[in-house]
């Protein structure tokens, strides 16, 4: 459990740093939507985030991935995808 939480915080930190957000990573709610409402992110943010995630965890999040809507729906979903696909 603690490993999941720490990975979630790590992913939250990547979101904040990659997108220059003025938010405390620990304040990002795990189930709040990343896109649109909530953090107010848009499509360029998602591309930027994909790049940061792939650099850090060694797997590609491609724009034509059929699971993108689910993966980028929330911090929890993104963390689960990272946990399942990471190569480093």
């Amino acid at each position: 459990m603690s490993q999941v939480v720490s990975l979630e915080l790590e992913v939250a930190q990547i979101i904040v740093e990659a997108l220059n957000l003025d938010v405390d990573p620990s304040a990002i709610e795990a189930d709040a939507p990343l896109y649109g409402e909530g953090l107010g992110l848009d499509s360029i943010d998602m591309l930027e985030l994909s790049l940061a995630i792939s650099k850090k965890y060694g797997f590609q999040l491609r724009s034509d991935d059929k699971d993108n809507v689910r993966i980028f729906s929330s911090l929890r979903a993104l963390t689960e995808a990272v946990g399942a696909r990471r190569t480093k």
Binding site: G40, D42, D45, E48, L51
Partner: protein, 265 residues
Amino acid sequence: MRVFVDGVAVNGPGLPDWEHACRVLSGCAPYTAAPAVMPAAPQLPAGERRRASLPIKFAVDLAAQAAAHAQADPEELGVVFGSANGDLHTVHQICEALAQPEREVSPTRFHNSVHNASAGYWSIAVKAALASTSVAAQDDTFAAALLEGVMQVRAEGLSIMLAAYDVPGPPPLACACPTLAAFGVALVLRPAQTRMSRWWLEASVREGPPVATPMTVPELEGLRAGVAAARALPLLSAMAGQKPSNVDLAYAEDRRLHVELSPCA
């Protein structure tokens, strides 16, 4: 081609705003060098502001100040922005990314790297739907942007937000595109006199050697010669002087932009 100047903004070393610049350029206050203050650009929506690079914020802030000075609704202004080198920091970061084995370029940096990024961010900030033009002409960028702005005012009957800005880049690009300091200027140009019109100017392209009007204060002449956008300084000095004046701006190898300027009655 006569146009009216309703508002002006400036930001550069020792010239933090038009009010102060006006006193310095008219000889009422001494010039004291100090780094240009980089604005936070609160005019940008939060999502755009966190993505905007320094030159973008610099340009947007200048345009906002000029619009306020002119009491103009920025939404109703066409846009002409000029920058000799655009955003060299962003270009540098993209070059660095391309030099890595993965060659992964940041989408945000790519988005910011185009020469009309600043004009785009400004249009988003003020919801301007009119056309924008982004000009680059090396050292003659201000003259080219001014000519473009004046022509759009005369040909289209539009009011124009004209901004010219340059920000130094990092090495090695800075060596190829030297810029002494961050400097920017913005003018609101109108096709007809309004209650806010402060000056009128007439611009004409003249054949002959590209001789420019110099600045008399050595530090300001150094700034004029060292930053493409600061080629505007003789025009700003004429505006600050509040009397009819003639200014020449170098424009291409074999011509110059002659500007006749006078305070409005």
